[in-house]
């Protein structure tokens, strides 16, 4: 679905007079191959380059070196631009700054309008997308009256209405409270499970990635770790070094292991944890 080859992105820092101060390499030699239908998580602390990387996936940024292919199309080829943006939708961090419409349904229709979809079909798509994210009853509401989680679900519906094959979530939960975070992650997982849409979730919340098929951890512009959530979370010390936390139960298991209990690595949920303790105790 998305493939990058030796992707490098540099930008030039300038001082107030516009003189060049230096060059920052935000993404540094990234090779990724994301298969259709996968749920991918990209982790990293603020400033690790994960959002810059994500903006390459739908041609909002172009590589300084290397190449990015979306569904086989090179993002640097101008002829592909609108196809790429239709196939790889994007949900951003700030719920207020990505809703264009004054009314929920008008916002969801914005993408299809831009694509030149006939009026009748726009209505069908809007209805179907709002239904998918469970926001149909708010179709006539003003986005200003919705909660953060609801606003993000509207943004997701706006992307689904474009019938993408892949959705990139760029820290969609960073500005939400725990309830809103759950809403958004649940919606993302459902899209992956039911609609088989490829999901790329960028986040720094560890609890959100435990259901991913594969996790990439970024640091200083390159991929530092990759593997299943279990493989990643069994390396607690390494994660801490990369300025990341781990779910509390994973940490607890890790601490207990250090104190001499024979617990296996990479415990992700409390159910697993209780099971594991039962096994050790022999009950």
């Amino acid at each position: 679905m998305i493939r990058t080859e030796n992707l490098v992105f540099e930008y030039i820092r300038r001082d107030e007079e516009g003189n060049v101060e230096g060059i920052t390499r935000a993404v540094d030699g990234v090779n990724l191959d994301i298969k259709p239908g996968q749920f991918i998580a990209i982790l990293g602390h603020n400033g690790s380059g994960k959002s810059t990387l994500a903006k390459h996936f739908n041609a909002l940024l172009y590589p300084t070196e290397g190449e990015v292919f979306v569904d086989g199309m090179n993002t640097e080829d101008d002829d592909n631009l609108w196809n790429i943006r239709q196939e790889a939708g994007m949900v951003f961090q700030n719920p207020d700054n990505q809703i264009i419409g004054q009314v929920v349904e008008e916002d969801v229709g914005f993408g299809p309008e831009n694509m030149g979809v006939p009026t009748k079909e726009i209505w069908e798509r809007v209805e179907e997308s709002l239904n998918t994210v469970g926001m149909l009853q708010f179709r006539k509401s003003s986005p200003n009256h919705l909660s953060g989680g609801q606003k993000q679900r509207v943004s997701i519906a706006g992307v689904i209405a474009m019938h993408p094959k892949c959705i990139i979530f760029d820290e969609p939960t960073a500005m939400l409270d725990p309830n809103g975070r759950k809403e958004v992650i649940r919606a993302a997982r459902a899209l992956n499970d039911v609609e088989k849409i490829t999901i790329i979730l960028i986040t720094h919340y560890m609890e959100e990635v435990i259901y991913a098929d594969k996790v990439f951890v970024m640091d200083k512009g390159h991929i530092e770790m990759s593997g299943t959530p279990r493989e990643i979370f069994s390396q607690v010390d390494k994660l801490k070094e990369l300025r990341l936390g781990v779910p509390q139960v994973t940490l607890l298991a890790h601490e207990l292991k250090k104190s001499g209990l024979p617990i296996k690595d990479g415990i992700l949920t409390k159910e697993e944890f209780v099971q594991e303790l039962k096994r050790i105790k022999g009950i």
Binding site: G47, G148, P247, V249, E255, L261, K270
Partner: protein, 283 residues
């Protein structure tokens, strides 16, 4: 210098179609030097509540006393109150405006009408207290990372030498390491300066390890008020109002019901670890 709220009610947008009660019959007593966590999800009234403590909002009925005096009396000096009860808002972007960090921190003391030398001394001291490096003093606050911006914002309030420091969601939008750094800083300020701290958050995980007392707000009312252990023992009720207790609370509950001899009032990782080790006869 205790803060006392006596039957405080606040109706938002009174006399309009959108009128709704943001605070309902809130009675609280916050003694000198306490470290309090104020928890609630978006719209629970927690932000409105803290704005009553320094007189930014005025109760529709009821009284707020600081140091035994009603702060909404017509002859009460609100300006000096705001120096004594310092409030740091959620986003540092809402208060940073000067060309460099040092000048920005000077803004508060300058408003108090202090002599220039005293202003600069206080600004320097405040920046040191938040662990801000000298080399960034004359840098624009807009070029800083999220965590550093927050430090400058906190220093901006500390420079007024408050007796009470209120922080509204100081960790929102920070990555795990950034969150931990800021929380450690706040805890350090409490210990070293002995000032009262009110930490507003929607995350139990954030506050559980640090605070002495937790006040839970729900729909404008105080739902729970007590030591962390006491509040978390109501984890089922907390769940019902959309707030989760720290993950270890659940783990301990499940272990207990699975037949382990553990004490369920462990709320921090350390306590949980010791309890489990005890159950396994390891210490």
């Amino acid at each position: 210098m205790a803060i006392i709220l006596d039957h405080v009610n606040y109706i938002y947008d009174e006399d309009t179609a959108m009128a709704h009660a943001a605070l309902i019959d809130v009675c609280l007593n916050i003694p000198d030097g306490q470290f309090v966590g104020l928890i609630g999800h978006t719209g629970s009234g927690k932000s409105t509540l803290v704005q009553h403590l320094n007189g930014l909002e005025k109760p529709t009925s009821g009284c707020v006393f600081y140091d035994g005096k009603d702060i909404n009396d017509s002859d009460y000096d609100k300006k000096s109150l705001r120096a004594k009860v310092g409030l740091v808002f959620q986003y540092p972007e809402h208060q940073l405006f000067e060309t460099d960090c040092f000048k920005d921190v000077c803004f508060g003391p300058k408003n108090l009408g202090l002599p220039q030398k005293e202003i600069e001394l206080r600004a320097y001291e405040a920046l040191k207290q938040v662990g801000f490096d000298d080399e960034y003093f004359y840098q624009s606050p807009f070029d800083l990372s999220g965590g550093q911006k927050r430090r400058v914002a906190i220093a901006g309030v500390l420079a007024m030498k408050p007796e009470v420091l209120i922080l509204d969601e100081p960790t929102a939008g920070l990555d795990p390491k950034g969150r931990e750094d800021i929380l450690n800083l706040i805890s350090k300020l409490h210990q070293e300066m002995g000032i009262t701290i009110i930490l507003v958050s929607h995350s139990m995980d954030d506050v559980a390890d640090y605070v002495q007392r937790i006040i839970v707000m729900n729909k404008g009312r105080v739902a729970f008020d007590g030591a962390p252990k006491e509040v978390f023992s109501h984890y089922k009720e907390l769940e019902a109002i959309g707030l989760a207790a720290p993950q270890v609370t659940y783990v301990m509950q499940e272990l207990k019901s699975a037949g382990f001899a553990v004490n369920t009032d462990a709320t921090t990782l350390e306590e949980a670890k010791n309890e489990i080790l005890k159950a396994f006869g390891k210490c």
